[in-house]
Symmetry: C2
Subunit: 448 residues, 2 copies
């Protein structure tokens, strides 16, 4: 069918909205892409949240579909495993997989977003408008209003996509629509986060191992660090908002911050000359999971990306899931092109359970990273999993979620949790020592 006459409005030119715009432009639609903020390629704005992100196979699959993945790889630093830092300053590298090709990538949010926007702009059938926050949507009329300078203007489209992130205006319209029977949940962790930095050496080099995601797991708090191309690391501190011995509320002076780091993260402290300034300049972010349903209003509008399913960042999958959204959606456009009602319904039916699954997995991994990563049973488990991955067609839960872009999040969750349960039981009951690897493999294989 001739799609060129259909006008598509995409609200939000973040990671998901930009990729969606690119893919729909490639399909020939007339695209209007509206972004609240100014063009991040022209102004030096921080993207608001995490400066770099773990980018992995589900995201890669979607960027491949849009033909841009080869331009993204040069922006990436491969991370082969987790570098665990003990409280005594010892380090221990836990590979992400027993197979050499399986690693994740650290990429700059801003650079990735800029690259996608550059690609989008090559299409004549796309109009991008920055500094244009959406202020409301009339669902039945398919009309959105935007603030441009100081006036409000209306925009009518055949189809509207809400790719406007965790605070989505389209989702709020759904929420307020009594007839939609909109199921909605938001859940916050008691922990918040704050971004800090390990700067590059004056020579431009890295102050610690470059090809790893660094973790300082300490039970009630945790520090992580991802490398940037310029030699620096973006560090994130996860800590309770208040009510604990150490909390963001409690750590309110230079002395308290430094002594907390000296006690808990001494080896990191040495690498962070700007700790105190960073700490008091940067905001504390919330960590929440949002689930909702429906994502669709008739064949007229659709929530996508974080707007539909915000997840906590502990599986490094929020962006990857949002990119995969575009991939899955594209499959149904291919199948039902011209009938948005069918496209959206089929998309939601497939995708909702997967978005729920990654939301749950991410919360579970929060507890795993905090508590288990430095625990002996967990170390044992990782070691056996590594051996299994080296010798058998075995995928740990982490690998299923991260490297098996051919299976869904919900399958990965089911299979992964089953494996974890059986394997941990074998370890805790000390049965594992009596078994050879092939027997273990057969015991934990999940035939679903």
């Amino acid at each position: 069918m001739d799609t060129s006459k259909e006008k598509i409005l995409i609200i939000g030119a973040g990671l998901c909205g930009s990729l969606l715009a690119l893919r729909l432009a490639q399909r020939g639609y007339q695209i209007e892409l509206r972004e609240e903020r100014s063009d991040l390629r022209k102004t030096d704005i921080s993207a608001g949240k995490s400066i770099n992100l773990a980018f992995s196979d589900r995201g890669i699959k979607a960027l491949k579909l849009a033909g841009v993945v080869d331009k993204v790889f040069p922006l990436c630093i491969p991370m082969n495993g987790r570098m665990i830092h003990s409280i005594e300053g010892e380090t221990f590298l836990s590979s992400y997989s027993g197979r050499p090709g399986e690693y994740i990538n650290s990429v700059s949010r801003g650079e990735l977003n800029a690259l996608l926007l550059d690609e989008v702009e090559k299409f004549e059938n796309v109009n991008i408008v920055f500094n244009s926050p959406c202020t409301g949507i009339e669902l039945e009329q398919n009309k959105a209003t935007f603030k441009v300078d100081d006036t409000i203007e209306g925009f009518h489209a055949n189809v509207i996509f809400g790719a406007d992130g965790v605070g989505s205006v389209l989702r709020k319209e759904f929420f307020n629509q009594r007839e939609m029977l909109f199921s909605y949940s938001q859940d916050f962790l008691a922990h918040g986060y704050k971004e800090l930095t390990i700067p590059a050496l004056d020579t431009g080099g890295f102050r610690t191992e470059k090809k790893a995601l660094h973790i300082w797991p300490r039970g009630k708090y945790m520090l992580i660090a991802l490398p940037n191309l310029d030699g620096s690391f973006t560090v994130t501190l996860f800590l309770e908002h208040s009510g604990a011995k150490y909390s963001f509320e409690e750590l309110n002076s230079k002395e308290k911050v430094v002594s907390f780091f000296r006690e808990q993260f001494a080896d990191a402290l040495e690498l962070m000359p700007n700790l105190v300034d960073d700490y008091f300049e940067n905001p504390v972010g919330n960590l929440g999971t949002i689930k909702c349903r429906p994502w669709v209003y008739k064949g007229k509008s659709l929530l996508i990306g974080d707007a539909a399913h915000a997840v906590v960042p502990f599986y490094g999958q929020g962006m990857n899931a949002s990119f995969e959204d575009v991939y899955v959606l594209d499959g149904y456009i291919e199948k039902y092109e011209g009938d948005w009602d069918k496209v959206f319904t089929a998309y939601e039916n497939e995708r909702k359970k997967d978005a729920d699954a990654i939301g749950d997995l991410a919360v579970e991994n929060f507890y795993e990273m905090r508590d288990h990563v430095a625990n002996p049973d967990f170390k044992k488990k990782r070691q056996i999993e590594m051996e299994l991955e080296t010798s058998f067609d075995y995928y740990s839960k982490y690998s299923l979620v991260t490297f098996r872009e051919d299976i869904s999040y919900s399958e990965a969750k089911k299979k992964g949790n089953y494996q974890d349960k059986v394997l941990l039981e074998l370890i805790v009951n000390s049965e594992i020592e009596k078994l050879d690897l092939a027997t273990i493999f057969n015991k934990i294989k999940h035939d679903a």
Copy 2:
């Protein structure tokens, strides 16, 4: 301590707000009770939802505490069991309990609310203002604004209670408060409800068995009826909103409605001369569960009743839970009077899990009532439970929730689900026939 100087604002003079006002007035506080609607004792307004309600032991416990239960009983019609109506028009009475004193009551929402307001008005330390919707609350300042005639007025209090039901303004303020990390969920069933009537006979008598809650379970839809003192029954039809063979959307003509009832509820149809008028005059309501946390803003404001935990009506417990809220809260006021922060924190810690439990139980019971009530295994189970209740110190799940006001909803849920599981397994595996009652009792007893 002298409580008379503390000014308490209660938003909403529904069932929960009125009882709370009464109890706090008895404790000597200065009460301002504000209600959006006009005085239901003076104008003939429908209370908006279900005209009568099942009132049971948790509600009774709370009204006893406030010393008004003896005035409520004359408004009640005892219902000893469920009268199940088969599609062929056969009836079958399933008692609520094997013990004679255990029954539930049908009571008029309007009359009960009026009685509570009459009691509240006897206190000089209470000021009730009707026609005064709350429009917003400044949490930190403890100030609420109200619309009175056409002006907005502010009201400052030491403590604010949001007893303003499912659409609570106080809850919306909590929701919008980023720092509160407000966890929130709303979940709707695909089913809605509509109220209908079986009118009284001209003689004032009842057209069908008075002392029962009537149920016509039909899998995908269900009709129930509760008696009123005037000889009528309030009938509620539960049906999918849309998308099914029979749905509210689909049943859009006189003919379709009558033929649906003739096919599914023939014996009820005979008792409902006004069916068609009722059907087309009365609105379709939504059925939703709302959970949230925290219920408290510092020691300043508290959500209570449906505002904190709306539940679907399938356990007949929403009002009873809201009354029990007042009972539990009162216990902590007794313990920590003068320190609202402690009162609220302790209250939420105890009560939240119980509100979650009754929310879950009510949804589970929806499926049970729809599907299982007419099912042979379920009938067998009810029969054995009845025998157990007659001969042993046994309480079915229904009885634990409804008649054991001395144990919490969460305990009742845990214990009840355990019993149900074990008992149903015995029935499904046909083991039950081989066992005597005492053995069954010992097998399903849950020692928690």
